[in-house]
Amino acid sequence: MAFLSTLFSQVINGLQSGSIYALVALGYSMVYGIIMLLNFAHGDIIMVGAYVVWMSTANFGFHPIVSILLAVVVSTTLGVVIEKVAYAPLRSSPRLSLLITAIGISFLLENGFQLIFGAGAKVVPDFLTGPSVHLGSATISFSAIVTIVVTVLMMAGLTFLVQKTKLGKAMRAVSEDMGAAQLMGINLNTTISFTFAMGSALAGVASVLYLSSYGQASPTMGSMLGLKAFVAAVLGGIGSLPGAMLGGFVIGMAEALVSAAGLSVWKDGVVFAILIIVLLVKPTGLMGKPMTEKV
C-alpha cells in the first residue's frame, strides 16, 4: 500500500513537470512545423514571462490575475517581435543561419536579463494557493492540480484553434507547403506571426505554471527547460501537436520514475537515451508524419 501510494505520488509528479514540458514543447513544435526552425530562444521566452510575474507581484504588488495576464501578453509580444526582427529577414537564408540567430537571441536574452536583474534567482511569493488533496497517504498539491488542469485545457483550446478556425487552417496549409499556401492567397507573414504568438502565449502560461510549482525565476532557467522541452517535441514527432504533448508527458514521467528508482544521477542520460532509441526505431518521432523524400 505504501509502495502504491508512493508510486501514485510519483506519477502525479511526473504529470506535473511533464505538463510544463508539454506546453513548452508545443511552442517548439508549432514553430518548427511552419518555418523549420529550431527556435532555441523559446525557452528564454519563459524566463522573460517568469520575470514579468516576479516584477508585477513582488515589486508592484499587482493582483495575481493581472500578473498572469501581463506575463502572457509580454511573452506573446516578445515572441512576435523576435520573429519580425531576427527571423523574418532570414527567411530565404540557409537554415543554419537561422539556427545560429536563434541561439544568438537566446544568449542575448539570458545575458541581457542577467545584466539588468543580476544573476541570482528571484523569489516569487506563492500566488496560486489553495488546498491540497489527500488520497489515502498520498498528497496532491494544489499547484499540481492547477498545472495539470490548465495544461489539458490549453491543449484542448489549441487543438480547436488549429483544427477548426481559419487561421488554424492557414497554419496547417503553410506548414504543408509554404509556396502553394501563398499562391492560394494565404498571408504568409500574418500566419507566421500568429504561430509565434500562439507558441509564445503558451510559453507565457508555462512560465506562470512553472512559478507556481517552483517559485524562482533566474536568467538561465530557460535553457535547460527549453532543451528538455525541445527533446520532448522531437520525441513526440516535431511538427505534430499531439506528439509534443505526448513527448512532454513521456519526458516528465521518465524523469520522475528514474528518480523514484533511485537513479536520479542518470536522469538526463535516460531522457536522452529514450530519445535516441525512439529516433532510431521511428526516425520521425512517436507521432510524426513519415517523411517522403523528393528527388
Binding site: 508512493t6 513537470s17 544573476a119 541570482g120 498528497t139 524523469e255 520522475a256 536520479s264 536522469k267
Partner: protein, 410 residues
C-alpha cells in the same frame, strides 16, 4: 618565383604579427581602463601602488556567487585604500571575469601576471580555482580563494595524506569534508538522529564532497543513511526525490547544496508531506527568503558566518551602504575575509621593504600568510593548518520564524 614566395611569406608573417599586435593594443586599452576605474577609488595614491588581481565569475551560471565574492573583496580593499593603503601604498585592483570556466580562468590569470600583480584573490568556483592554482603554484604567486572548498585546491592529491601542498594557495572558507563531518556529529549528538537521508547535486564537487563526508561519518556514528538522492545542475523539480525520501521518513535530511536549491527542496519536501529536520552546510546562508518560515522552521546548518550576530553587524551595514543591498550570501563575507588575509600578508611583506612585485616580495607574502595567527575576520578567527586550510570553528545556525539565527558554536 622567389618573389612570390617572399611576398607570401611576408604576408603570412604580417598576419601573425597583426594577430598578436591586435590583442596587445586591446590589452593596453583595457588595462588603461581598469587603472582608470581603480584610480577613481584610490585618488590619494602616494608612494606607489601594490597591484592585486581579483578573479571571479561575474557572468555565467553561478555569477551570483562570483559577484558576492567580488563585492566582498572590493569592500575591504576600498576600506583599506580609504585608510591610506598599505604603508602609504594604494592597492590597485585588476579584476577579471572568468565565467566560471577553467580555460577562461587560466587566460585571465596569465593576463594578471602580465599586468604585474603581486597577489591574486580568486577564483570562485572550484574547477576554475584548481586550474589557476596549478599555474600560480608553478610561478609562486600568492593566491587565496574565498570559496573553493574542495580539498584538492591546496593539496595536489587529496587522496594522499603525504601529498605535496601548494604552498602558495590559501583559502578563507571551510573545506568540504569538515562540514559534512560536523553536521553528521551534530545530527547524532544534538538531534539524536538514528536515520538520515541526503539529497545532493551530482556533478557539483562541493555538494558531493559534503555528502561523502556526511555519509561516511554517519556510518561511523551508527546513523543509518536510508536514501541518497541526487539531482543535476539547473533542476528545479525535486518532487520525485522528495517523495522517495518522505516514504522512508528519515529523522534528518542532509542537503549540502546552495541556498536557492535548498529552499526549493525544502518547499517541495514539505509539499510531499515530510516533517523531519533539514540540515545543510554553509551553502545554506541566505536560504530564508527561498521558502516560507513554516517550511524552514527548525532546520539547521553550519556556517563560518553567523549572520545577524554583533560581530558581523558592522560588516553588514558597510555592505549595505556600499552596494545598496543586503549581504546576499556567505560568499560576500568570505570574500571580505580573503581580501583581509591577503592585505594583512601584503602589509607584513611590505614592512620588509622589498620591491613590490618581485619574487622575494611574493615569497614574503606567502610566508606572512602562512604564519597568520589569530587574525579576526567576519567569518571567524584565522590560522592555517599544514594544508593551508583555515582552522575556525563552525557556527550552527537555526531557522526560527523565517530568520536565520545563530544557535551555538559547535
Amino acid at each position: 618565383m622567389k618573389k612570390f614566395v617572399s611576398v607570401a611569406l611576408a604576408a603570412t608573417m604580417a598576419l601573425s604579427l597583426v594577430a598578436c599586435g591586435g590583442s596587445a593594443s586591446s590589452a593596453a586599452s583595457s588595462a588603461a581602463n581598469s587603472t582608470a576605474s581603480s584610480a577613481a577609488s584610490t585618488a590619494s595614491g602616494e608612494g606607489g601602488t601594490i597591484k592585486v588581481g581579483v578573479l571571479a565569475n561575474t557572468s555565467g551560471d553561478y555569477a551570483i556567487y562570483g559577484n558576492a565574492v567580488k563585492n566582498g573583496v572590493m569592500l575591504y580593499i576600498n576600506e583599506i585604500n580609504g585608510k591610506g593603503g598599505i604603508n602609504g601604498k594604494q592597492i590597485e585592483v585588476f579584476d577579471y571575469d572568468d565565467k566560471g570556466d577553467p580555460t577562461e580562468a587560466v587566460t585571465a590569470f596569465n593576463r594578471l601576471v602580465d599586468d604585474g600583480v603581486t597577489a591574486v584573490i580568486g577564483s570562485v568556483l572550484t574547477g576554475a580555482t584548481i586550474a589557476v592554482a596549478d599555474e600560480s603554484y608553478a610561478i609562486g604567486m600568492p593566491q587565496i580563494t574565498a570559496s573553493a572548498t574542495a580539498a584538492g585546491v591546496t593539496v595536489l592529491d587529496p587522496e594522499d595524506p603525504e601529498s605535496e601542498v601548494r604552498t602558495n594557495v590559501f583559502r578563507s572558507c571551510f573545506i568540504d569534508p569538515f562540514q559534512g563531518e560536523k553536521m553528521a556529529e551534530y545530527a547524532s549528538q544534538e538531534l539524536g538522529a538514528k536515520t538520515a537521508a541526503v539529497i545532493f547535486e551530482t556533478g557539483n564537487d562541493y555538494s558531493e564532497g559534503l555528502k561523502n563526508a556526511f555519509v561516511d561519518k554517519c556510518k561511523e556514528l551508527g546513523i543509518e543513511v536510508v536514501s541518497e538522492e541526487a539531482y543535476t545542475k539547473g533542476d528545479v523539480d525535486f518532487k520525485a526525490q522528495m517523495t522517495t525520501i518522505t516514504s522512508k521518513n528519515p529523522d534528518v535530511v542532509f542537503c549540502p547544496n546552495y541556498y536557492q536549491d535548498d529552499g526549493n527542496i525544502v518547499k517541495q519536501a514539505r509539499a510531499a508531506g515530510y516533517t523531519g529536520t533539514f540540515m545543510g552546510g554553509d551553502g545554506w546562508g541566505g536560504v530564508a527568503g527561498y521558502a516560507s518560515a513554516e517550511e524552514l522552521e527548525g532546520s539547521v546548518y553550519c556556517s563560518g558566518y553567523a549572520a545577524g550576530t554583533d560581530d558581523v553587524k558592522t560588516f553588514e551595514t558597510a555592505y549595505k551602504d556600499a552596494y545598496g543591498e543586503d549581504v546576499p550570501n556567505m560568499f560576500a563575507p568570505l570574500g571580505y575575509d580573503a581580501a583581509m588575509l591577503m592585505c594583512n600578508a601584503l602589509s607584513a611583506a611590505d614592512d620588509q621593504g622589498l620591491e613590490t612585485g618581485s619574487d622575494d616580495y611574493k615569497a614574503a607574502v606567502i610566508d606572512a600568510m602562512k604564519s597568520t595567527d589569530g587574525l579576526k575576520g567576519v567569518t571567524g578567527t584565522y590560522k592555517f593548518d599544514q594544508y593551508n586550510n583555515p582552522i575556525k570553528s563552525a557556527a550552527i545556525m537555526k531557522l526560527e520564524g523565517g530568520k536565520e539565527v545563530f544557535s551555538e558554536m559547535f
